[in-house]
Amino acid sequence: MHELAIAEQIVNVVMTQVEAHQVKHVSSVRIQVGDAMGIVTDSLTFSFEMIARFTPELDGAHLEIEKVPYLAKCRRCKQDFIVKQFILQCPICEQWEADIVSGTEFRVLDMETG
């Protein structure tokens, strides 16, 4: 259910920009979501587009989601690897110590007006 609360946050961020730039209508909003954030993107899209229908400046706007892979770097062998199911073990040397490289991104990138 928190996808609805997150969608509200996205709408708030966008509406601040709509007012600042005096935009009449937004046709799409592009966001970036890292795989480490545990977000159900289908639910987020559904929630955003539902709220957008009740907001004149956003009526019919689409949400475009750019996914960022959850990547970590092994401290021992220095290899980057994709973290699957949140398991932070290096698949090459099986070491458990790794630093997160990407996947925690969670931001609004831009909006298309018109």
């Binding site: 609360a5 946050q9 545990g38 398991i87 969670f106 931001r107 609004v108 909006m111 007006t113």
Partner: protein, 221 residues
């Protein structure tokens, strides 16, 4: 048609309020925990036992988050700790603005450790910072031992895991090794406490840790 760049963290509004909460608590030298679990793991019971056991050593304040009722705040008040109940009326998690509002109802001069009991849910609270110092996830032996594998995000963002109801181990098919393996797989640095609120076993280690992070400095107080 024109592209307008924005580049702003989606949760920036919440994170900004969380920072305010953290600053307020820091100004009063209060350490804070965000306690999360699925419904029924024993968060409130853990707080009741902890408050009783640390009476005289640590002044604990509690913010209770629930969808409805003041039942949990009533239980905490009964053991003598200052408490504020947040009723979310359907919201599945606490957000920083709710905590900020709740702080106004507490005498912060009288608190060393603030425990924020989140809504029982292993999914949604993980994304919302409340301005806490540490996140504590509570599991219990009457749940599946694969909870950390099923809800990895919660365990990945927590610093501490409490395994409650260990007195029931002879009666349930709960593999302590498995739950710790699953949890450490997503969070190798997780601090783990095993305890039973019912028998008191393991509570001393947990309470000693709380004292170590939150006891008032005798020089500054």
């Amino acid at each position: 048609m024109a592209k307008v760049p924005i580049v702003q963290n989606i949760l920036a509004a919440n994170d900004g309020v969380a920072q305010e909460v953290q600053d307020t608590l820091a100004a009063h030298k209060i350490r804070s925990l965000n306690i999360m679990s699925s419904a029924g793991a024993g968060k409130t019971t853990l707080l009741e036992r902890t408050i009783k056991r640390l009476n005289g050593r640590l002044r604990i304040g509690v913010i209770e988050g629930d969808v409805e009722t003041t039942n949990d705040a009533d239980r905490i008040a009964a053991v003598g700790a200052p408490t504020v109940q947040i009723i979310t009326q359907g919201n599945c998690h606490l957000e920083a603005n709710m905590v900020r509002a709740a702080l106004a109802a507490l005498d912060l001069e009288q608190i060393d450790l603030l425990c924020i009991e989140n809504v029982g849910n292993l999914v949604c609270p993980a994304n919302w910072s409340l301005g806490e110092d540490s996140r504590v996830v509570v599991v219990s032996t009457t749940e599946g031992d694969d909870k950390p594998a099923k809800y990895p995000h919660m365990f990945a963002v927590s610093e501490v895991m409490v395994i409650n109801k260990i007195d029931l181990l002879p009666y349930v098919d709960y593999d302590m090794g498995a739950v710790k393996r699953f949890a450490r797989a997503v969070n190798p640095n997780l601090l783990i406490f095993e305890l039973s609120c019912r028998t008191g076993e393991g509570l001393d280690a947990w309470c000693d840790w709380l004292v170590s992070i939150a006891a008032p400095d005798p020089i500054t107080r």
